[in-house]
Amino acid sequence: MRDCPDGAIRDLLPLYVSGKLVATEQARVASHVAMCMDCATEAELLRTVARAFPVPMLDVASIVAKLPTPRVVPIHRQPLWRVAASLALFIAGTATVLAVIGRQPDAVQVGLVQPVGTQTGAAPETTLAVATSTGGSPAGNGALLSLGEELSDLTDAQLELLLGSLDGLDPRPQADPMTIATPIIQDRTQAPSRNNQ
């Protein structure tokens, strides 16, 4: 048994015999085999090899029966109301967080404020207010400390004590907005005189 000198064709003979070549290649090899005794002999030998190993009987059903079952991952479709509820919860949470951040005191103001509505004849109540502020009116955030008396009613000792405590405050704005900022002192000297008018 001799070998054909065309190694490329010989290399394709097993695929030719098993029909694994594309049509054009199959036709090319077939035409070569038709003219080449060596390749024809080798192709026949390859067919014999393929036939020489018969396939044992297989029971496909029994093989399949022993295969594992696929781990199917179910796709949970969320009901619309769940989506809506989640969205509402998210929005509410976000709003709460923003509100909390918004209430964070960035300044604490101390001052004597005059309550609204006291510009009439009635004597206004002069108030020492230590107020937190987020940029709005310090009075709007409410007085934290009120003497509840007119300055004119204070004794000299009380006035000196009040002025002394106010003088002790640093008038300069703090770098940290969380700390006490500028004390606001509203015309403490004129308030009594205005009351006297």
């Binding site: 015999v17 694994k20 080798e42 036939r51 190993f53 396939v55 496909v60 093989i63 696929p70």
Partner: protein
């Protein structure tokens, strides 16, 4: 070279996806597509008994680790690789127990006696003897090339070698078989 290798891969990939989605019929289709070739290869390696069990174990192992299968590879090549590993495992186990003897030409004659009624061709018997006389590597490469029409690159994956080495193994095997048959004649 193989005309429909990409189509075959696409079909296998689609069947795998169907099976993953719960379609058990897809598993049947996969087994039907590849079981015969696997059994033939198992027989050609010298396995004489429980070939169906080998094929079954191959599929069970494959389906158990189907998630690790890369869809860009050929399922058939992967299955052959698993089968080859199982054959080697079985031989090691049998060797430890002193059961298995590597396929020898004379052994091959005896081992296929049961099949002689099916293959009454004397030439076929000579061919089996010649194949049995090959080295295990030559035999695996040769049989994968001849009975399954595998590309050398795929064979290299199955037997754990290189494409060029597999080409050399194939042609050496063919030469050895021709010589065996010439001497036997």
């Amino acid at each position: 070279m193989a005309p429909n290798s990409s189509d075959e891969r696409a079909v296998d990939a689609a069947l795998i996806e169907r099976w993953k989605a719960g379609d058990q019929a897809a598993a049947t289709a996969i087994v039907e597509r590849h079981a015969t070739a696997l059994a033939r290869f198992a027989a050609s390696t010298g396995e004489r008994e429980r070939i169906d069990e080998l094929v079954q174990d191959t599929f069970v192992r494959a389906f158990n680790s189907i998630d690790s299968f890369r869809s860009d590879a050929a399922l058939r090549t992967w299955l052959f690789t698993i089968l080859k590993r199982l054959v080697l495992d079985r031989r090691r186990a049998e060797r430890r127990q002193g059961v298995h003897v590597e396929l020898e030409p004379t052994h091959a004659v005896q081992s296929y006696n049961a099949l002689d009624s099916l293959i009454a061709d004397e030439t076929a018997q000579q061919v089996r003897n010649a194949v049995a006389a090959l080295s295990p590597m030559q035999r695996d490469v040769f049989m994968l090339r001849v009975t399954d029409g595998m590309a050398y690159s795929e064979i290299a994956t199955v037997v754990g070698s290189t494409e060029g080495a597999c080409r050399v193994h194939y042609h050496n095997a063919m030469r050895a078989i021709k010589e065996w048959l010439s001497d036997d004649a």
